[in-house]
Amino acid sequence: MSWLDKLKSGLKKTAGLFTARTFDAASVEELEEALIRADVGLTATRRIMQDIQSKKSRESDEIRAAVGRVLVEKMQPVARPLTIDAARKPYVILVVGVNGVGKTTTIGKLARQYRDQGLKVSLVAGDTFRAGAVEQLQLWGDKTGCRVHAGKPGADAAGLVFDALAASRKAGDDVLLIDTAGRLHNRADLMDELKKIVRVIQKADASAPHAVELVLDATTGQNALTQVKIFQEMVGVTGLIMTKLDGTAKGGILVALADAYPLPIHAVGVGEQADDLHAFTAAEYVDSLLGGA
């Protein structure tokens, strides 16, 4: 099953989101509600509604097509995959996010992708806090044939990252993927700890981290906006990865995010297997958001 099919089959389980065809008060309201139910949020929904009203070219135009156009136009600029700069050795990718969004699983999937491209990849088990986190990454390392740098439980993550970066450089790695402990963005102490990790990476390589990926859960509501804002302020997020899009949650918050922050959406996760990570494409996403054609 292709990932789009997976997306669609997930979406099919909910009632058809949007069925109206023509511009009238009822279908405008139906559209508005569809967007809200997809977690697009009020502010972004209102802006889209305005755009549609102003861009509607002719009265006979179908509302579904009009909204599709507006949304694709909005999402196109942020649909940019993460490209590894071969000049950076290793290309350091720091993976951050709140608890339970799927950071470790995403790292496993990224590792698989880069290995399949013939790159040499190492992983750093930077989550020294959560029980079982090191073992979880270790298993992904085994599965994808990547070396895993791990410390003792409760060890200082920044110190571990520093040593791993040196070892990775020595080993001639192409990519170094750093896992971090999940942390709620309103915990100042934990965010300080994350900033320290970034500082330590910079000390070892002034150009790194080359990518800071914020992992977001598709089931998350409006709080994702705050997550992006704070992680962005704290550690300079360079891209977003949305996980769990294979469920019934539509991840409409991405539309609100595209509106508020010009961050690229680097990938989407649609399952638990190693190859369940895909590039984000605007047209397919909008299609799934509106419940298919």
């Binding site: 102490d189 998350t220 705050t226």
Partner: protein
């Protein structure tokens, strides 16, 4: 980022300028404001619609038309209706002298494993003999995670047998629970999508086999609109007896709680409020209602204060404050108490009525870091200087700044902060306890403020910080 409902309602009623009564158009506008507030808090749309319908019936009633302050009245009505809808919590339904099974289920990453350990610890503390077992053979190292949590917290966990299937683990766990005469067996299941037919069938089979006393849905407080679908599907396919809301220590408004309560028709039982194993609290509808409305989390604030603040020290400081004596040692003790409470900004936002100033709080230079720097300044002073700040002149300032690794400006700032606080203390003394209360009430002007003010623990909160948000 979000305006609170109270703010919006005030705007609605300000526009209608001092009518003092609730007109039809005011009702409509209020209901719109309520709808927006609930949607911004992630309450699911169908649930919002029903809720608004209920509200209309109440708001249109006689009681409100005669109300003197319509906006306050409406906020209270909404709050009460939210509390009612969120419903009462209840204790776990565990029968004596048998192996009560508690089935933990939910989506991936909702916090089932951590919550299982928290629940086990809570039950064990209440005197029950508890056995934990992980049936999660899918997520790598999930079983190890539970085993580690058990070892860290002195909880019994069923030993891992490699390659064993979930149903077989469940059978072995049931046997073990019987053999060891455990009162409760907590089964931590793998996270699964509610639309994954195969995985849902497995869960149904586990349930049939284990005949649980409780089937608890573990769900993330940050969830958006999809919370309705998740809760309903799990309720329909498996049957639920309760919900546990996790990550309530985040800053999500938590509207998902309302959505799930309404859709699954089962009570919310517990709130996960941190990563530590003891961070599990009984569900409290008032608290969540306040959050959804952006009214601040009074109960949470008081609970944090009670838990973390050294009561004796707080009382001593309070007594000295009331007697008008207040030197740098008192300031130091006050700052340390505040630091212990955790994130200062987050804490301030929990204070009712302050939520509307959250932008200013974000901008203001208040953080645990500045507190720590101020602490360093005081610690670089001699005992005599701390008792008599007046003697600190230029050369002493230079020495103190060098000792604390800050600039003389920072020392001056600290001294100014001290002077302001001391001046306020003098004023409090003049006003007496009653005057202080009325001042605090003026600051808050929100329900819940009274109970907050009666709490001794609050005496330790730095009034200078509390007042700053008001400017």
């Amino acid at each position: 980022m979000f305006n609170t409902l109270a703010q919006k309602l005030s705007a609605v009623f300000d526009k209608l300028a001092n009518r003092g009564i609730l007109t039809e158009s005011a009702v409509d506008e209020s209901l719109r404001a309520i709808k927006v507030a609930l949607l911004e808090a992630d309450v699911a749309l169908p649930v919002v619609k029903t809720f608004i319908q209920n509200m209309r019936d109440q708001v249109v009633g006689e009681k409100v038309v005669k109300a003197v302050s319509p906006s306050q009245m409406v906020v209270k009505l909404v709050h009460d209706e939210l509390v009612k809808t969120l419903g009462d919590s209840r204790a776990l339904n565990l029968a004596p002298r048998r192996q009560n099974v508690i089935l933990m289920l939910g989506l991936q990453g909702s916090g089932k494993t951590t919550t299982s350990a928290k629940l086990a610890l809570r039950l064990q503390k209440s005197g029950a003999k508890v056995l934990l077992a992980s049936l999660d053979t899918y997520r790598p190292a999930a079983q190890q995670q539970l085993a580690e949590l058990g070892a860290q917290n002195g909880l019994a966990v069923l030993p891992i047998v490699k390659g064993e299937k979930p149903l077989d683990i469940a059978r072995r766990a049931l046997d073990e629970a019987k053999l060891t005469a455990a009162d409760a067996l907590i089964l931590d299941t793998a996270g699964r999508l509610h639309i994954d037919a195969e995985m849902m069938a497995e869960l149904a089979e586990i349930k049939r086999l284990s005949d649980p006393a409780e089937s608890l849905l573990v769900a993330d407080a940050m969830m958006g609109q999809d919370a309705v679908t998740t809760a309903r599907t799990f309720a329909d396919a498996i049957g639920l007896t309760g919900i546990i809301l996790t990550r309530v220590d985040g800053d999500a408004r938590g509207g998902a709680a309302l959505s799930m309560r309404a859709q699954a028709g089962v009570p919310l039982l517990f709130l996960g409020v941190g990563e530590k194993a003891d961070a599990l609290e009984a569900f409290d509808a008032k608290r969540i209602a306040g959050r959804i409305l952006g009214m601040g989390d009074v109960v949470g604030l008081v609970e944090t204060a009670i838990e973390k603040v050294n009561q004796d020290e707080a009382r001593k400081t309070a007594e000295r404050m009331m007697s008008g004596r207040f030197d740098l040692n008192d300031l130091l003790s006050q700052m340390r108490q505040i630091n212990k409470l955790g994130d200062v900004k987050g804490l301030m936002k929990m204070i009712p009525g302050i939520a509307k100033f959250s932008d200013q709080i974000d901008k203001a230079d208040i953080s645990n870091k500045t507190l720590r720097r101020q602490e360093a300044v005081i610690l670089s002073m001699t005992p005599r200087e701390r008792r008599n700040p007046d003697i600190i002149k230029a050369s002493r300032k230079l020495r103190i700044a060098a000792g604390a690794g800050v600039s003389v400006n920072d020392v001056n700032r600290l001294l100014k902060h001290y002077e302001q606080t001391a001046a306020m203390m003098k004023q409090f003394k003049k006003m007496g306890p009653a005057g202080m209360m009325s001042l605090m009430k003026k600051m808050g002007g929100m329900p819940g403020m009274d109970s907050l003010m009666n709490n001794d623990a609050l005496a330790s909160l730095n009034p200078e910080l509390t007042l700053k948000g008001k400017k």
